[in-house]
């Protein structure tokens, strides 16, 4: 579990919902435990660079679309 300084924010839950992919399906595709996806989405685990790149590759987006060191703006916000 990472502390606040090392917090990596992510959009996995948004991307997963948008693509209609379940946690188990994503976990199977990435070869990780399905709970790991849940911990990632809750921000309780920061992935290795390798896993982060594989998640981005799975969603076919650049890694900075999925992960950020600063919180992502809420959908619909102007900033």
């Amino acid at each position: 579990m990472s502390n606040d300084k090392e917090q990596v924010h992510n959009r996995i839950a948004v991307l997963r919902a948008e693509r209609g992919v379940s946690r188990r399906a994503l976990a199977d595709a990435l070869g990780v435990h399905y709970q790991t996806i849940g911990y990632l989405e809750r921000g309780e685990y920061s992935p290795s660079l390798h896993l982060a790149l594989r998640i981005a590759e799975h969603f076919e987006v650049p890694v900075e679309v999925v992960f950020s060191l600063t919180p992502f703006p809420r959908l619909g916000s102007t900033t």
Binding site: R23, H33, T36, P47, S48
Partner: protein, 177 residues
């Protein structure tokens, strides 16, 4: 069935076993198991302390018998439940774990290593203080030293697993869809 297939089958069964439903799969349940495990270890240490003070005597013998009769069945029950309760972080071979589970296991081993080192120093100092020296004879029974080492052995072996059970956070809820 060739060796590779047998290994895959064994791995599949191990993963299935680690994912079977359990009433101890929550943080509260895991901490309850960890408390029971810590109590078993404490019982072994208490048994060694009683033997250290009283052996050889009937009191030490009965305490030893009671400690073994309680600690071992409870210990087996705890560790039998730890594998599904930690979803395999305890018990599964490392190649079957993902990076989060491996890092959790490593962190627990690091904490347990520090605790084990502390226990080792305490046991060493205790045994050295009872060694016969110039002008004094040892009054400690050999059985007490043996029990002390047993307690140390079980503590060093089992602490990492109890620490994992204690530390793991609550599982994320299942998919809502």
């Amino acid at each position: 069935m060739d060796t590779a297939t047998k290994k895959q089958e064994r791995d599949r069964k191990a993963i299935e076993r680690s994912n079977r439903p359990t009433r101890y799969g929550t943080r509260k349940g895991r901490r309850m198991l960890a408390r029971a495990g810590f109590a078993c270890l404490a019982l072994l240490w208490a048994d060694a302390a009683v033997s250290w003070a009283l052996a050889p005597s009937d009191a030490a013998m009965y305490t030893n018998l009671a400690a073994i009769l309680i600690a071992f069945p409870v210990g087996f029950w705890v560790f039998g439940n730890l594998v599904p309760a930690t979803r395999g972080t305890v018990g599964l071979a490392e190649h079957l774990l993902d990076e989060r589970q491996v890092s959790e296991r490593l962190r627990a081993h690091a904490i347990a290593h520090r605790l084990g080192l502390g226990l080792l120093v305490v046991v060493f100092a205790t045994v050295m203080s009872a060694m016969p020296g110039e002008g004094r004879a040892s009054h400690v029974a050999g059985a007490a030293v043996l029990l002390l080492f047993f307690a140390l052995l079980f503590s060093v072996a089992l602490l990492p697993y109890l620490i994992i059970a204690w530390r793991l956070p609550d599982s994320p809820p299942e998919d809502e869809e």
